[in-house]
Amino acid sequence: MLSILTNNYGTLMSGLGYTLLSSLIALVFSLIIGTVFALMEISPHKWLRVIGKLYVEVIRNIPLLIITMGFYVIVPKYLLPVDGFTAGTIGLTIYTSAFIAETVRAGIQSVAVGQMEGARSVGLTYTQAMSQIVFPQAIKIVIPPLGNQFINLVKNSSILAFVAGFDLMYQGKIIANATFNTFDTYLVVGLLYLILTMPLSYLMRHLEKKWVTA
């Protein structure tokens, strides 16, 4: 098992790097897109609510693989050339943004209604009240579930293996095919994933406990 790690150290580390890079890029963009759709879902305008709800419901009920493969197969054929890493990361971003939208919406709605009413009656506009009063309170509630979304994102980034995205799973597959030692290879790949996800998941559990009691 150790020989797999030492002989392919460079390849595995570059895979780990691409996994982390793709997850981080997808996190940043899905946070932005997710927050926008969350705000649409609770907006006072009916049409914005409909669009927000539609986006979230549709994306959440379609497999990540279909979204990712859609970008990998269809976009290069009709629009512009994209490589596996880009297609995979875009797929991840869109898929995750729907879940983040739900998390953020739940966070905002868990802030007492009186906060918004109070802010409005003091003379703030809807936008001001949302951005300065409601949103800052929601962030604290939302951080542990967002952390869990990030863990999911790291795990889901293994989808890049389907589209030749050079991530950890993809490199693992190549090493396994080259060495025929599938058992040890996938054990090593599993350990590398755990190094990324386990500390994060314990941290989030700790934060959840600490902030719920606080």
Binding site: P63, M169, F183, L194, S201
Partner: protein, 219 residues
Amino acid sequence: MQSFIDAYSQVNLHYLLEGLWVTVEVSVTSILFSFLIGTLLGIARYINVRIFSAAVGFVIDLIRNLPLLLILFFTYFALPNIGIRLGVIPASIVAMTIFESAMLAEIVRSGINAVPVGQMEAARSNGLSYVQAMVHIILPQAFKAMIPPIVSQFISLVKDTSLATIILLPELTYHAQIIYGQDVNYTIPMFVALAVLYFVVNYALSLGARLINRRLNHA
């Protein structure tokens, strides 16, 4: 537009639905096994027997933090390396069951935790044994609270079966790939069909869950 009409020929639609049926079969079988194993694991973690519960908890955490795709590779490609050979369908079901059991164990544990301690104490003081109290008093109440998270777990399971195309499980996504592999013009129609079919199945499930939830809360 013509490509859509051609792509949705009766033969192709039939082939897609055949794939959907395999998706449903694998998902339902896996969720049933996972429900049994997950309940046992969840209880094992809940009862707090010193080292045992901690060990179970650690294994659950390990599995929950791994990508399902890796577990799938493990059951199909890695196990033959140590002499265990599984067919495509068993390998898929085993992988899904391992992953979902760990997910359901957490749902079961928090479901049991949500039942007020007084319920157990009252059952015990009425003369029920711990096992009787668990089976007749605690679990029925816990399961009620667990229905919505279990359904959403089932929805992600249905979506995740698409990953098994990589080991050539003949489910919905794989069948669609075969169809558009024969004719490039069928690519977009097939992706549209995939999105619609998965959406319909999963949205129906989540509507069903909402309905059950409303019923239970009124009762």
